[in-house]
Symmetry: C2
Subunit: 415 residues, 2 copies
């Protein structure tokens, strides 16, 4: 994997001097990703409700599968025997190149499940409470509908019960890396612990120490398995909302020799930009940074401005299936009765397949009728909206008008 | 609407002398249909789980919407105001012609619901019983999942309760035709009563008289509304399993001046071919015939051999969503564990999007994971299989080798 920075953002208004947003190109064995880029989530080797062709046609260059889910079903060895994640799910890159039949993919480490499946519950914090609490932003790296039972964390790894058949599993950093090598993505992640923001500082420190030890072990295992040097391993920076811990984590993870970085964790929404800035001031400029599980429009601008190159989030796809659609004037609920006789497209400026071919009235009808096509057409629109918003942001960097685009977009979007 | 017969089948082995299968072309204001043809069912203005583009790409030239469902939701006036069924659902024909932006469509009359929603229940016959009774073939013109409450039949029409909001509705032949003109399909159907095969002969005679009176009233209303002469009205022949009633119905309906004919009813599977033959020996050769709700491979051969031009059936789409897939060696259940590591396509001879891009192992995974893409990919395959089987049958007529194809296909399919 190679990463080339093509252009840097001009100094932002009141922004830090040391870090700058940038436009670049990540080159993998299976094709290029033009950064900043939004990565659609294909939890179980499918971007929910879409064919890979639809995902490609809406402009995505890479997709992210979820290690935890694929390990449980169909099993990482099945995916390996099928030829790896991209071939298994029929994912072709864009453009389709002769030498690379299959497109670029990412897998996360499964570490996020430590947080979302177990530890937080164990501490008496229900996920539902966190999600309805507006000041807490939960990274949306997989779907609630898939949320399984309890997990238990130890020094060496995490044990958990499968939500599919109740079987017991134990994942260590080594095991996570082995699974990910079986899944065969181009970019994989070190095994980490993503803590709840409600944990106290002592626990955050403990967890961070664990994440750093696990990072080292992940890297060692990866070096054993990566003989052909085709797979890139990203380390994950954690540290919660605490400035010292975030900076410490960025320093420790930077020093280890990863190919790139994930910025993980759950933040209070208002603290997210400072956490990202603290980290990116320290991470080496020449390696790509992936802000994990974040993807709302305002957060994409914030992330890019603070030096983020990659984003992923299930919000566009999940919102789509629920009938919540992005427009340049903010989100709408297409189930609203006022759309039943609205025979215009969702967004007059949108060039997606859905907006080119279907009306709000038809979508309203499909959602009311609980038709599968509803979720498909809405997901196409939402993913196109977000993927292409990040493409526009990239273009604005190249043309040195990022702040103009940001003001223009957000003033209409938040109206 | 015009119908041109291009080639007739050679006399079939032991078949009747008077009727012959044929290949032809139906020309509507919105494009051509090459007959015999299978018409995918778009119950609620969507072929379940597919975009219109997918339906077109798999080779379908026309789709059939369900009057009953569209009347209840979104309402026929909404569809009319949206520009008619084809425009509302974004259905483009094949090939897409400059003068016809939208593709050809059919609506049924809603009369089938008289049978499937009400009368049979009223007589103490549950639909479930009929479906699990193998010797009874229920025409599959809409989905069970959509099956509503009770209906009550009178001399003038049918009253029923909406399964959506419990509101009361009354449909007469005139009302059915008015609704269908609002929906704006190219081919519409007279309002009929489809009786249960379990009814006694006396009831069958009564019901048939009603269907004939309703046919006349449907035709009168249609002539009032069809000022531009763009819409074709098909009369429906009923008569259950009784030879005399079937022949009587064919004569009466033939004499009325319809543009084509539907053959309706539910038959014992073993009686279907004789019922179709009785009817088609009487129906005028120069007008098209649609065998309503029938679409299993063996029945398609039987129908074509006995002079049928059009078929529709929800079996391919419903089977698809349930994981039952057609192959040249018969149907398979893709959920079967033996397919989990089968990395070949569903059918090595199939040219559909699913077979060109995905393996049985991947489909097995998607179905196990309850992913929406499972239903989409399976439906593409099944519809392609059936639509293209009928295309092959058509080609075999043109090349005077229908019986060879029939023997070849069925000997492998039923093995």
């Amino acid at each position: 994997m190679q990463f080339q920075i093509i252009k840097k953002l001009g100094k932002s208004k009141g922004g830090a001097d040391k870090i700058l947003g940038r436009a670049g190109i990540i080159t993998t064995a299976h094709g290029e990703i033009h950064t900043p880029a939004f990565v659609p989530v294909a939890t179980k080797a499918t971007v929910k409700a879409l064919t890979p062709e639809m995902v490609r046609d809406l402009g995505a260059e890479i997709v992210l599968g979820n290690t935890y889910h694929l390990y449980l079903q169909p099993g990482d060895e099945v995916v390996r025997d099928a030829g790896g994640l991209a071939k298994f799910m029929g994912w072709h890159g864009l453009p389709r190149e002769a030498e690379a039949e299959w497109g670029p993919t990412i897998t996360d480490s499964g570490g996020f499940q430590v947080f979302s499946l177990g530890v937080a519950y164990g501490k008496g914090i229900s996920k539902v409470t966190q999600i309805t609490e507006p000041s807490l932003l939960i990274p949306e790296r997989f779907d609630d509908s898939d949320a399984p039972g309890l997990a238990k964390i130890g020094a060496d790894g995490v044990s958990f019960k499968s939500h599919l058949d109740g079987s017991l599993h134990y994942i260590t950093p080594e095991k996570s890396i082995q699974i990910q090598h079986n899944l065969g993505a181009d970019i994989i992640f070190a095994f980490d612990e993503c803590t709840s923001p409600a944990e106290d500082l002592r626990y955050q420190e403990e967890a961070l120490e664990r994440t750093h030890r696990w990072a080292e072990r992940s890297l060692e295992e990866h070096q054993k398995l990566n003989k052909e040097n085709k797979v890139a391993l990203f380390g994950i920076v954690q540290g919660g909302r605490d400035e010292n811990l975030r900076k410490k984590s960025a320093k420790v993870i930077s020093s280890m020799g990863f190919d790139g970085f994930g910025i993980g964790g759950s933040f209070a929404k208002e603290d997210m930009s400072s956490a990202v800035r603290w980290v990116n001031e320290i991470l080496p400029e020449e390696k790509p940074r992936h802000l994990l599980g974040i993807g709302e429009p305002e957060d994409l601008f914030m992330g890019v401005e603070n030096g983020v190159d990659l984003f992923d989030c299930v919000a566009p796809t999940r919102n789509g299936r629920n009938g919540t659609l992005y427009t340049k004037r903010g989100k709408i609920n297409i189930m609203n009765a006022k759309f039943a006789r609205d025979f215009l497209s969702i967004d007059s400026d949108c060039g997606c397949h859905t907006c080119r071919n279907f009306t709000k009235g038809y979508l309203n009808h499909l959602f009311k009728g609980k038709e599968m096509l509803a979720g498909t057409l809405a997901t196409i629109h939402n993913l196109y909206f977000i993927v292409n918003l990040v493409k526009k942001i990239r273009q604005s960097i190249l043309e040195a008008r990022f702040l103009e685009l940001k003001d223009e977009f957000l003033s209409l979007y938040n109206k």
